[in-house]
Amino acid sequence: MLTSADLNPKGPISLAERQLLFDAFFIMMIVIVPVFVMAALFTWRYRGTNRKARYDPGFVYYWPVEILVWGAPAAIIVWLGFHLWDGTHKLDPYDPIDKSVEPLEVQVVAQDWKWLFIYPEQSIAVVNELVFPTGKPLSLKITSDTVMNSFVIPALGGQIYAMAGMQTKLHLLADENGEYWGRNVQYSGYGFADQQFHAISVSDEDFENWVQKAKDAGKMLDKEGYEALAKPSSKLPVTYYSSVTPGLFDSIIYKYTKGNAHGYAMQCTTPELAQASQASGGETGSRAE
């Protein structure tokens, strides 16, 4: 299919995630390399048959060495800890990438074994294809209408779980036009291996054309159509829906939470609760909303 991968990031998020990986890797070499050197050197030099090497069975404690063996790893971990804290806050998948830019919002539903993308502003929906303008932040709201899934586009970043009755968020951005692969990476049953989709970043113009193409598809995604689609199926071809029943995404979440809003409120809010709290200007307490 497509070749892009984590080694080959196409967006700032995966680039930053990879950079953190490289930084940590190299700083760790400060302790890793000495281990290799010492292991090789000591194994060779102190082999029993080498009578020239010094034998000192009394060398069992030496405080400067003790300070070094605790201190050196500890120092590295302190360094790493700062970068970890920093990186985790900067790369929080829930944070908008650029607050000054209006992102493209897409609602993502994991189903057995496919991905449904709903574009609320455009009022279209697509199965197994995610198209978006290059350079424009992508704001994904993710849920599942089946078991737990995990959404990732390795070239751009991720991943985040998709859970029924809950909503998670992910923000991504592509720097250049291209076609990447995305998929579910949390095992979800027989069709798991084929549960993938194309992620395509295009120019603004092409995006408009693509939306138009979907609009021309002439298929409606209403409640019944949705129920039919949600049934287990795999290797579904890309399918466009020219219009979507408003509130479909919320109703998918609501299906799992109705009547239990109170039991749940700690972890996960129903859309009503979420709306209520938004209306009152507050943030909902938990993040897997």
Partner: protein, 683 residues
Amino acid sequence: MDFFGRLTLDSLPFYSAIAASGAGVTVLGGLSVVALITYLGAWKALFGEWLSSLDHKKIGIMYVVVALVMLMRGFIDAAMMRSQQAVAFNSDGYLPPGHFDQIFSSHGTIMIFFMAMPFLSGIINFVMPQQIGSRDVAFPFMNAVSLWLTAAGAGLVLISLVIGKFSTAGWTGYPPYSGPEFTPGVGVDYWLWAVLISGIGSTMSGINFLVTILKRRAPGMTMFRLPLFTWTVFVAAILMIFAFPALTVACVMLALDRTLDFHFFTNAGGGNMMNYINLFWLWGHPEVYILILPAFGVFSEVVAVFSQKRLFGYISLVLATMAIGILSFTVWLHHFFTMGSSETVNSFFGIMTTIIAVPTGVKVFDWLLTMFRGRLIFKPPMLFTIGFLVTFVIGGLSGVLLAMPPVDYLMHNTTFLIAHFHNMIIPGVLFGYLAGYMFWFPKAFGFKLNEWWGTASFWCWIIGFYLAFMPLYVLGLMGMPRRMEHYDIAAWQPHLIVAAIGAFIIFLGIVCLGVQLWVSVRDRRSALDVSGDPWNGRSLEWLTASPPAPYNFAVLPKVEAIDAFWDMKARGVAYVQPKEYEPITMPKNTLIPLLVGGTAFVFGFAMVWWIWWLAVATLAFIGGLVIFRSFDDDPDFTMPASTVQAIEDRRYEQLAKHPANEMADEPGYAGDPSPDPLPEGAR
């Protein structure tokens, strides 16, 4: 209600050739064991001396037998996955998804619960009481019950191959997938009851080990004179006691969801799967330290003995072990950074995880410094130790990388993770146990294992390991998810082929282990361990005969220093026969633990197939057995002093005929206990 619950003839695996042959092999394997025992006429000895034994040494050996059998089964699963993925580019390979998914689930479950755990309990059982100068564990009866509960769990996994199917939900069994809605069959139930029953055994083992170390140490064996292996067991036992209940609770809740329609973890109905994931890893992370700490203990013993030098930084190593034990309860969330927790929560658990790397790093350096200015002798256990040191730090490196939440966002659920934990668990855990197996084998059976085959096995394991798992790091960086039955990305295939070759070389390593055992038994007379001290050892288990008398120590040793036995040799008191002996009281053999385990197996089977009357009956029977046993006022027997005298006389006769130390012929031998000069009459 059906008499046999949901069990019907259709449950037999005639629906697929591969499943049927798996079942066939299992059944044939079982039958040939039965035939072999009959042929050898060994039934009486088997039941009379082994299966009914409460002797911690025999229990330990039986645990290891279970572990080695399950290692083979677990490896067959691994080989099937490796060969499937090597060919499944743009094709379905030879395994359909339903089957592939059972295989990764059973591989993980078997390797963790029925290979690593029994191996661990076996080595601990065999070695630890001897190391602390004790005649037995604190609760010998409970010890045997633990063994048979573990065996019952293993039996359930094995029989799932013949009757019904195994789980497809992975070794972690995450709901809602593992709930009744998505996996209504018996598979997940097999997994659940196997894990639950053996988990109860493990909890009891933990209690037993901890109490033994606290209460059964020889006079003078203070905590800070404990050999490092025993220290690691001490911490691992505490972890077992605190961690396993979380698993038990998670599994019981899931079982209630599945059988009685509860909704703890269902999507709808007010449940929340996140709670399961938390509970599971609240056990799961400490579990990896339960597995690896005792392996660290083995490496500590081996590196000191074969460097012919006391362990460097004993106090540091003890402190590091304790630090790891405590920290291991504070990191579980790193298994699901991608669940959507806040950045602060993720940072906290990420930082706690990286902190564990500090004490672990300390240990690595202390082992290396033990080798520094030593005289190294490269026996197979030492080879495994050096292989471990070098390879393990790579796994530590990838572990710290995964502990950075943003890196984990990319790497989670990919083969990078698979590579990471196999990188910890094969060189760390398995090499440790294999080193322990070769190190203490002479103690158990009175003769040494063949070194050539042991060395060959080591090289196959380590080369195979690198070939099988380094490509998975690369594949993970390329984004390949774990648990893939087939794929359509051409660039992955070459790496998967290399990995399959690696698995094949590991297979040769396993074959070498088998040949080693065969050859060693055949040539045992040329490698006898007469002294009981085949490696010029340092801790008390080398003071006993090989194999040890049932009571281990006729007279409890008096400990005056770290490396108690080394110190006794240096002072010349190790082999001084006491004037007289006292009678020794030991537990009688009993078949009740075996019966408990066997009944628990039937109980598990009944729960899996919803044969309710049988479940109730077996549970009641187990209760009855325990009550019956509690009325036994005379569970012990006393070996008269004259018998002890006779056994010990024979031992000292042998000792007199042979040099006390069988390492003296080694070219690298550095001499008897030093730096102290040998006192007068030490031999």
